[in-house]
């Protein structure tokens, strides 16, 4: 059997890659893709924990289903905002969106 650690390390890698994407991208869609990678890392964690530690209960898988449903809703709202700002500004580069200073 594959050791549990392996899955957890893959999840950690996906999470950190996603975080890098979030921190380093200028483009709002690029940042959103980073966030999706982070959410996938969470799901790998949850399913791995479920299979190795708690396969007789359904909690781990239920949690994943909720994360998936919420992620879809989140993507829809996020992309709606991105399209709205593109209409107003002609850009979705986050640094260029600077009417308000940091």
């Amino acid at each position: 059997m594959i050791p549990l650690h392996w899955f957890l390390i893959v999840a950690a890698a996906l999470f950190c890659i996603g975080l890098y994407g979030v921190l380093s991208r200028r483009n709002a869609v690029g940042i959103l893709m980073g966030i999706e990678l982070m959410l996938n890392a969470v799901n790998v964690n949850l399913v791995a924990f479920w299979r190795y530690l708690d396969p007789l209960e359904s909690l781990g898988q239920v949690f994943v289903l909720f994360v998936l449903a919420v992620a879809a809703a989140e993507a829809a709202v996020g992309l709606a905002l991105i399209i709205a700002i593109y209409r107003n500004r002609d850009t979705i580069i986050v640094e260029d969106i600077d009417l308000m200073k940091w």
Binding site: A12, L23, S24, V29, M33, N40, A69, V70
Partner: protein
């Protein structure tokens, strides 16, 4: 042995494609790599004997979310231009943060003696999942329904064409 090789294949697919997602200069290619990464993750779910989750992953992530993202890129098409700079100035610090966090995470999950149970997944597991969703977890289930309604209404209000 075979299982481990398959694991290596899927995780290399997921992690490699994920790296391409965050580093590729062309945002459209990034989105395509995202699809590959999500499929790799679906493969990991199959290895973890969660085929239902794998199918849902393909349907929702690959089918819906990636499509949405591709649509958004095409609707905001100036961004498909590969000459556009995609990295900000802090990318180097971000990389250090990400690598540092990865090391911390690997060390903290690595030091744990996980109390692994060696049992098979029960036959009727999917029935159980459905039943629990309607009984045990019915409240978050209903709240998610409200959440989808709110997201739907909100997305339409915000993305609607100008009325004037």
């Amino acid at each position: 042995m075979v299982l481990q090789a398959v694991f290596m294949l899927f995780s290399a697919m997921a992690v490699g494609a994920a790296l391409a997602v965050v580093t590729n200069k062309n945002i459209f290619h990034s989105a395509l790599f995202l699809v590959v990464a999500l499929l790799g993750v679906a493969g990991l779910y199959v290895l973890l004997e969660a085929p239902f989750i794998a199918v849902v992953q393909v349907l929702i992530y690959v089918g819906a979310i990636s499509t949405l993202i591709l649509f958004a890129i095409m609707l905001t098409r100036r961004l498909m231009d590969a000459s556009e700079r995609q990295r900000n100035e802090q990318w180097f610090i971000s990389a250090i943060v990400a690598v540092g966090l990865f090391i911390v995470l690997v060390l903290s999950v690595g030091q744990v003696h996980w109390p692994v149970v060696h049992t098979d997944v029960p036959e009727n597991h999917l029935n159980r999942l459905g039943q629990d969703l309607m009984e045990h977890y019915v409240l978050p289930f209903e709240v998610t329904a409200v959440l989808l309604l709110a997201a739907l209404v909100g997305a339409i209000v915000i993305a609607r064409e100008r009325t004037r």
